[in-house]
């Protein structure tokens, strides 16, 4: 087992290194100078603009050779310093990300966890009962085929705009400031619900279908036939089927993470939820190297860590990996 985990760790470290290097390289290899647009936004007069151009280029370290910027980047990483922001001069990237991340996590974590649990349960149930299967399956297919932003638009249109049950945008009511009060908590939940629901529904559909198909496959396989012919109670048979089906679903979880994160980004945009999604859009528009780098670092780190957790869970659940039985 430790060999398995060691391998996985090595791969993740390698992935981290590669991803971080790509993360560093892409913004810089692209055309366009962020200082130019920064100067444009300052709207200073001609003379001042000229001087400021050189000043900012120097203060952001953009006049240093690329390899030096790369090393500075890694050094800063280990100190938790992701550099200054170009879009919001005066703020550091870490600051900006810290204010946005809680909102994105508040959407992602419950959505992923709940949709995984609920989806697997419902999928398994649907595999057993025909009537449930006939209703759940088409719904699940439609849900999983929907683009996140479209479902977000529909929910916003029906529930927020037409019926006015939920608010249409933002993370909390304008008249409040974040605080540990019941008032704030209620407002937060009300604003959180629709974006959460969007992510939950689409992901739910996928898990339900996947689980249902896997269970059906398991139920048709030889060992279940054998068990049934021996007269084993159907509950026991289902238990084995479920345990076997869970494994591929788990590795699917790791894959799904990347895409749910993407879904969260567009959902945040539709609902004006002040998470990482909105920050990325601004960073792209203004070509804020440091902010973009920092955000992607967070995303990559987050996904890697989540993958690692899933791998550990996989090892716990699948006894074969523990005893080192290889699959081929």
């Amino acid at each position: 087992m430790s060999r398995y985990l060691l391998r996985k760790s090595a791969i993740y470290l390698l992935t981290f290194f590669v991803a971080v290097s790509i993360d560093f390289a892409i913004p810089r290899l692209m055309p366009g100078n962020p200082i130019d647009s920064l100067i444009g936004r300052l709207q200073a007069d001609s003379t001042a603009s000229q001087e400021l151009h050189g000043f900012f280029t120097e203060s952001f370290g953009l006049d240093e050779p690329l390899w030096k910027q790369y090393l500075t980047f890694w050094r800063g990483l280990f100190h938790g310093d992701l550099g200054p922001s170009i879009a919001y001069v005066g703020s550091s990237v870490t600051e900006l990300i810290w204010t946005a991340i809680p909102y994105t996590l508040a959407l992602l974590v419950p959505a992923i966890v709940l949709s995984y649990i609920a989806g697997n349960r419902v999928g398994a149930m649907a595999a057993r009962r025909k009537t449930l299967d006939n209703t759940v399956l088409p719904v699940a297919y439609v849900l999983t085929a929907m683009p996140y932003m479209w479902l977000a638009l529909i929910l916003a249109y029906v529930l927020a705009f037409r019926l006015q049950i939920f608010p249409v945008s933002g993370a909390y009511d304008f008249s409040l400031q974040p605080a540990w009060t019941l008032e704030f908590a209620r407002s937060f939940l009300a604003h959180w619900f629709l974006p959460f629901l969007t992510l939950f529904l689409v992901a739910f559909g996928g898990w339900a279908i996947g689980m249902r198909n896997l269970i059906i496959y398991e139920l048709e396989s030889e060992y279940t036939n054998y068990l049934q012919s021996l007269g084993a109670p159907s509950r026991l048979v289902r238990k084995y089927a479920y345990s076997n089906a869970v494994l591929p679903q788990m590795s699917g979880l790791a894959l799904a993470l990347g895409l749910v994160v993407g879904g969260a980004l567009v959902t945040e945009i539709v609902f004006g939820y002040p998470g990482i999604g909105s920050l990325i859009i601004t960073a792209i528009q203004v070509r804020d190297y440091f902010l973009l780098q920092g955000i992607f670092l967070f995303i990559i780190l987050g996904v890697l860590i989540a993958n690692f957790i899933v791998d550990i869970a996989y090892v716990i659940v699948d006894p074969r990996t523990r005893t080192g039985i290889q699959g081929s």
Binding site: Y141, A145, F296
Partner: protein, 310 residues
């Protein structure tokens, strides 16, 4: 070596954990007539195929049904659907139906192209890794894992923003190049199980080279599987393309369903109640992708009798 269960390998795209289950042995080659017989009796396949075909026909024929072009102005602003304007008009005065049918075309083109690119890369990596094994396989595995873990959409957003994608081909290549890993993994697993079989050893003994063996013996045995993988890639690409277009990162001179959603949102379609502007594009995407996924499951049942519900 990755623990790959020979018995089941859930191949999921992430947006749909739709599994392509792998039989213990590759299914015996059935006569084509038998396959077709089961195909037409499979409800999922029929429904999925009909939906996809309907929209495909609409995409092909649609532009001939209307005089309007998607970017043309001059129509009455913000009209709801009527006999004259079948899907109404947009806020600045463009024909929604025209945008819709041209957008369908883009979706199909990008989906198919991206699917091909991803399938090509996935097959290459999967076949080589699965057949050769050893060090080559290790390296390819690591490569696959690395690309797998990096969140696709996040990378695409940066790259598309900087590269300023202006053609469907460019967008398709970009998507294809980032969405192949799961396909490679799945194909590799299949190749593994096939490569250890007797008829491959026979082929090797008779002096055939690796390439030919893969091309002549392994791939044809997996053809149904490869087709299923392609369909999933197609569907997934349509979704990713729609998301990129929605963010404004796709080609801006070519109408696409995602671009329609983008315009609708920035044109305040939601607040001004112009449901005919943002509902149709979403319906199109959902229908095509959903149809493809359902087809996938149906075909899976046709090819693997164990899955059939009788």
């Amino acid at each position: 070596m990755d623990t790959v269960d020979q018995h089941t390998d859930s191949v999921s795209t992430g947006t749909a954990a739709v599994s392509v289950t792998v039989a213990e042995e590759a299914p015996p080659r059935r006569s084509r007539n038998e396959t077709l017989y089961f195909a037409f009796r499979n409800r999922k396949l029929v429904i999925g195929l009909s939906v996809v075909t309907f929209f495909l026909l609409l995409a092909i024929v649609g532009p001939w049904l209307t005089d309007a072009t998607p970017f043309e102005f001059g129509y009455p602003t913000g009209e709801p659907p009527s006999r004259e304007y079948w899907l109404g008009t947009t806020a600045p005065g463009q024909d929604v139906f025209a945008q819709f049918v041209y957008g369908l075309r883009s979706s199909f083109v990008v989906g198919a192209l991206a699917g091909c690119v991803a399938a090509a890369i996935g097959m290459t990596v999967g076949f080589v890794g699965g057949y050769r094994g050893g060090a080559v396989d290790e390296i390819l595995s690591v490569l696959t894992n690395v690309v797998l873990v990096i969140p696709t959409l996040a990378v695409l957003i940066i790259v598309a923003a900087y590269l300023s994608v202006q053609s469907l081909l460019a967008e398709a290549v970009l998507i294809g190049v980032t969405s192949w890993p799961w396909a490679a993994r799945a194909i590799r697993a299949q190749t593994f199980s096939l490569a250890s079989r007797d008829f491959i050893s026979v082929a090797r003994l008779s002096g055939q080279t690796g390439w030919k063996i893969v091309a002549k013996e392994i791939a044809p045995n997996m053809s149904s599987y490869l087709f299923l993988v392609f369909i999933l890639l197609f569907g997934g690409s349509v979704l990713i393309a729609a998301t990129l277009d929605f963010l404004g990162l796709g080609p801006s001179q070519v109408m696409s369903l995602g671009l329609m959603l983008n315009n609708a949102v920035s044109g305040s379609a939601l607040q001004l109640g112009m449901w005919w502007w943002f509902i149709p594009p979403g319906v199109g995407i959902t229908a095509i992708v959903g149809g493809l996924y359902v087809m996938n499951v149906g075909l899976d049942e046709v090819f693997n009798p164990k899955l059939r519900e009788t």
